[in-house]
Amino acid sequence: MTRLSRERLDLASASVLALLVLAGASASSNEHLLRTAGSPARLLLLVVLGGLALVTALRFRSEWRLRPWVAAGAAAFCALAFVSTGWAVLPMSTLKRDLSLAAVLVVAVLVAGSTAHSPRTTRLLLDGILVAAAVFAAGGLVLWLFDASKAVQPATTEYAARFQGLGDNPDTAPLLFAIAMPIALQRALAPGARRARALALATLLGLAAAVTASGSRGGLLAGFLSLLVVVWLAPMTLRRRAAASAAVVAALALCAWVTTVPSALPQHGTAAPALAQPHGHRGIDAESVLPLEAEIGSPWWTHKAAGVHRSLFGASSRVRALQGAIHQALGRPLLGTGFGAELFVSRYYGFHSGNPEDGYVGLLMQVGAIGLALFVAFVAICMAPALRRRALASAAVGAVAAGLLLGLSQSFFHAAGDIVFVPFWLLLLLGSQPAEST
């Protein structure tokens, strides 16, 4: 009876987690209906998942475990986020972000604790995330079949056409897909029914195809490099490991090349903006000549023709923005402007984002070097045992690695509305569990 209850609870938790991740993805969708349904559903499902995790923890109290250092790390980071309201530029906004982080961490701790002695629970939860990603990818494909104009961002002079599926933009869904790719690979490599492994492999290929079609460089790199983590941690001979690693690297090179095949629209030699264009007014409207949001790197300074061309390795506008963000963060280097208050001022030519597009620099801006160090320490505490013992939860660790790599090109560690906010924190806690759990 007790066993059955545990199985039912685990299955219910995994199903709710799948729905929660799907709701989070829907909330980041370009489809109005999905977006309006996703946001409230996400909150409700988080509460339900927390309730199920609490019931499981209470009912199977003796099996619930969490390493004290992991709990201390989570508590310390969360506490710093709350305390930062004391010096935050926008205290109410910071408080809202704090509450979101705390809610997700509490649920993640409750869920992860229940997996300490139950590899089956971990497997089900990981499957929940994988299923959600696969369903979102399949939804994007269906949208493309019925209305390609909604599923593809048209080509511009800057970008080639990019597949965005159900995502808000081409970089949205690949975040979730990249995190799900190592889970799919681990399922494909793990012993089990041949049909299940084939299905996992097909899912992996589908996710990789969706990331490639999106042209998301960060997603591609994170997805494939995290596969190497899975290969590295999976129990296999050295020769097989080398062969699998080579296959992953070859697949990454192939997909990277594919992203370069579509072309951006041709640029028709846009001239550098004139030094002064009176526009028939008494004074010059400086915003029409040298907009503040695109001043740094502007052709107004270089007197060269305008135009930004995106290439596989080109990242000049991103680097400019990152340098500027770091410079801005160093204005308040120790403690930042308050958790969630990523008050990035975009002044960079060819950079179209309201945040620095880097989770680590984002945290540096919000909670300073102290907060960033605390975050890194927490991640290290969670992941250190995994790196010491190879037979660990390669899926969860691979997915966390994907999240950490995505953090280099996206700022989401603090953003409750982001598509991978919940999966990342949950996977981090799942990955921190002892070896036998996975």
Partner: protein
């Protein structure tokens, strides 16, 4: 044994709480220091500009960022050499010095209320309006 552990845990937790609370004054000090640095830079731009209404005033911006208006002054061949941006209350929130090869920027855009640099808002707004009017 358990009592010793409990006492030790409580001590650690108390130390952590004290350390966290001690961060609040540190964070506020850091915010003040940052604001003072930016204010110093903004004042240096204002000093370089001199009077707001002068012949070198030749450009403007309306409603940039969080609703700021800006006045720009010419120096040598650069029509945008010096710039100040201010809010509706006349608080100068940003200062730009473009007299070198690249812009030097001082900004309190993330927290305009921290600026203590005040100009005559009505007068500055009138200048912006004058510049944005069509040529006769």
């Amino acid at each position: 044994m358990s009592t010793w552990w409990q006492r030790r845990s409580v001590l650690w937790a108390a130390a952590a709480v004290v350390a966290l609370l001690a961060l609040i004054p540190l964070g506020r000090w850091e915010a003040r220091r940052h604001a003072q640095n930016e204010i110093r830079g903004i004042r240096s731009v204002l000093a370089a500009i001199g009077p707001l209404d002068q012949p070198s005033l030749d450009a403007y911006r309306i409603g940039v960022g969080p609703g700021l208006d800006c006045l720009l002054y010419k120096r040598a061949a650069n029509p945008f050499a010096l710039e100040i941006c201010f809010d509706g209350a006349g608080r100068v929130v940003e200062g730009y010095d473009r007299r070198g090869g690249s812009p030097r920027i001082w900004s309190l855009r993330e927290d305009p209320s921290a600026s203590t640099v005040q100009i005559d808002g009505a007068r500055a707004l009138a200048l912006v309006k004058r510049l944005s009017q069509p040529r006769p």
